[in-house]
Structures are given as structure tokens and as C-alpha cells.
């Protein structure tokens, strides 16, 4: 898979955005349905403004989208963006799992050589 420069910049923002427990929690909630910012804010021991800032960071990273309905701002996770990030993490995991598989194979060869 070839990744372009702009994708890399996007990924950068995404990884920065999820390096925070509150933002990950917001992401997790908004994966299932739309939440208003005030509804989200009730879940965290911080001000509405602070939660709004977290949402803004997720929005800039392209992980959530926001729309206005009356006085409410509604937030929803972008499933594609989250999936891409998960894909990158899974790639890293796969690299390690493969490496450990090969370590196991190398050890098995050695056992075979001895017997």
C-alpha cells in the first residue's frame, strides 16, 4: 500500500488526536450515534469549553464531523478515518506477530538440528 504525503499529514493529526483518553472516549461514544457537545460534556469532569476543545481537535484531525441543529452542535465519528487509523495499528501489530512467528520457526529448526 502506497501512502501519499497528504495522507501522512492526516495520519499525524489523527494519532495526535487520539493520544488522549477523553478524546478516545468521545470517539468511542460518537461511533455509535450522534452526540451533542453538551451531552458529551456531562460525562467528563471538565468544563463545556474544555470538551468543546477536545471535539475541535478531533474535528481538525478529520475523526469526527460536527453539524449544527438549533442551538446544539452534534458530533459524529467518521468511521472511515477511524478505520484507517486502526488499520495502521493493526499493521504494526502484524509486523510484531510475524516477527515472533519467525522466532518460533527459528527455534524449531534448531531443535530439529539437535535431534
Amino acid at each position: 500500500m502506497v501512502v501519499g504525503r497528504s495522507d501522512e499529514a492526516d495520519d499525524d493529526r489523527r494519532f495526535r488526536a487520539v493520544a488522549d483518553a477523553t478524546r478516545r472516549d468521545i470517539l468511542r461514544r460518537t461511533m455509535t450515534r450522534e452526540y451533542s457537545v453538551s451531552e458529551l460534556a456531562r460525562n467528563y469532569p471538565m468544563s463545556f469549553a474544555a470538551v468543546q476543545k477536545h471535539v475541535a481537535k478531533l474535528e481538525r484531525a478529520g475523526l469526527v464531523t460536527k453539524r449544527r441543529e438549533g442551538r446544539e452542535q452534534l458530533v459524529r465519528a467518521d468511521v472511515h478515518a477511524v478505520r484507517r487509523m486502526r488499520y495502521l495499528l493493526d499493521q504494526l501489530e502484524a509486523m510484531w506477530v510475524d516477527r515472533i512467528d519467525r522466532m518460533g520457526e527459528t527455534l524449531a529448526q534448531e531443535k530439529g538440528d539437535e535431534s
Binding site: 500500500m1 502506497v2 501512502v3 501522512e8 495520519d11 499525524d12 489523527r14 494519532f15 495526535r16 487520539v18 493520544a19 488522549d20 483518553a21 478516545r24 470517539l27 468511542r28 461511533m31 455509535t32 468511521v79 477511524v82 478505520r83 486502526r86 488499520y87 495502521l88 495499528l89 493493526d90 499493521q91 504494526l92 501489530e93 502484524a94 509486523m95 510484531w96 506477530v97 510475524d98 516477527r99 515472533i100 512467528d101 519467525r102 522466532m103 518460533g104 520457526e105 527459528t106 527455534l107 529448526q109 534448531e110 531443535k111
Partner: protein
């Protein structure tokens, strides 16, 4: 061998891999201490590794290269931080040039390996620490470009992943 467990901690940009090998600790240690054995598993089949310099002692260097199907060669370097044979060792893994000089523009990964033997089986724990979430991301991109990573399984349980992160 038991299926490895991989834990990803995005807050601290660390990845922890734990597994158990059906082999004595002495053999597992040789996977790192013997450069010919290290070559057998470090790189994937499409990017086999060659170890050029191997000093697994504090302050020592391990220089390796990986050559891809197009003949493209990528160099890497371990700066050995600590060695406590056969219990643990810690290295800083860096991208390097063909002379084994580190590339300061690319992120380093600190890897700590810990081993313990129980009843002829060896438990291994490896903690890979990236400089920052951005560095972790950069390593991921490099890995993809260099073809270090294998084919991916289907994506599912996005929610579970985010919850576990």
C-alpha cells in the same frame, strides 16, 4: 508457541508484545546473540535481514540491512543501552545509512526485551517505546513503504479497538 499478545498504549506510544516459546531460555537468547540467527527472523521473507556488525553489549552497535524484492536496501542500527544476559536487554533501534550512521530525521524506537524460563519454556516480553504518537505513526508509514508488514486481516470491532487503546 503461544499466540503473542500485543498491547498498544497510545497515551505512552508504547507497544508491548508478550509470548511464550517452547524452547529453553538459552536458545531464545541466541536468537539475538547470534547474528546468523537474528538474520533468520528479524526481516520478513520479502525483506531478509543481513547483520553487518554485532556487539550485544552496553554501548555496542548492531548494524543490519534489509533488502527488498526490487533490490532496495534499507539500513538499521541498534544502539545497545543495557544487557543483562540472559534476563533482559535494551536497545535503541534507528534508521541508518549504509555506513551504519543513524538518520536523525527518522524516529527511534527503544526496545526492551525481557525473558524468563519456566519448565523448559521461555516467556518473552518486548516493550517497544516510540518517541511520541507522531513517531509511532512515522514508523508505521516507513514500515508500510518498506513492505515490512504482512497482509492485513479484515477490519472489525472498531469500537473494541478504540476502547482497548
Amino acid at each position: 508457541m503461544t499466540t503473542p499478545i500485543v498491547e498498544k498504549d497510545l497515551d505512552n506510544a508504547t507497544l508491548t508484545v508478550t509470548t511464550e516459546f517452547d524452547a529453553p531460555l538459552e536458545h531464545v537468547w541466541q536468537l539475538f546473540a547470534d547474528p546468523r540467527k537474528l538474520e533468520k527472523w528479524w526481516g520478513p521473507p520479502t525483506y531478509p535481514a543481513t547483520v553487518h556488525q554485532h556487539e550485544l553489549r552496553p554501548g555496542g552497535k548492531v548494524v543490519y540491512s534489509m533488502t527488498g524484492p526490487e533490490g532496495d536496501t534499507h539500513y538499521g542500527l541498534w544502539n545497545v543501552i543495557a544487557v543483562d544476559e540472559p534476563g533482559s536487554f535494551e536497545v535503541e533501534d534507528l534508521f541508518a545509512d549504509e555506513n551504519g550512521n543513524p538518520n536523525p530525521e527518522l524516529p527511534a524506537t527503544v526496545m526492551r526485551y525481557e525473558f524468563a524460563e519456566t519448565g523448559g519454556r521461555t516467556q518473552m516480553r518486548c516493550v517497544a517505546r516510540y518517541a511520541s504518537p507522531e513517531a509511532l505513526q512515522q514508523v508505521l508509514e516507513m514500515g508500510m513503504e518498506e513492505g515490512l508488514v504482512a497482509a492485513m486481516s479484515q477490519i472489525d470491532g472498531v469500537l473494541a479497538e478504540i476502547a482497548a487503546a
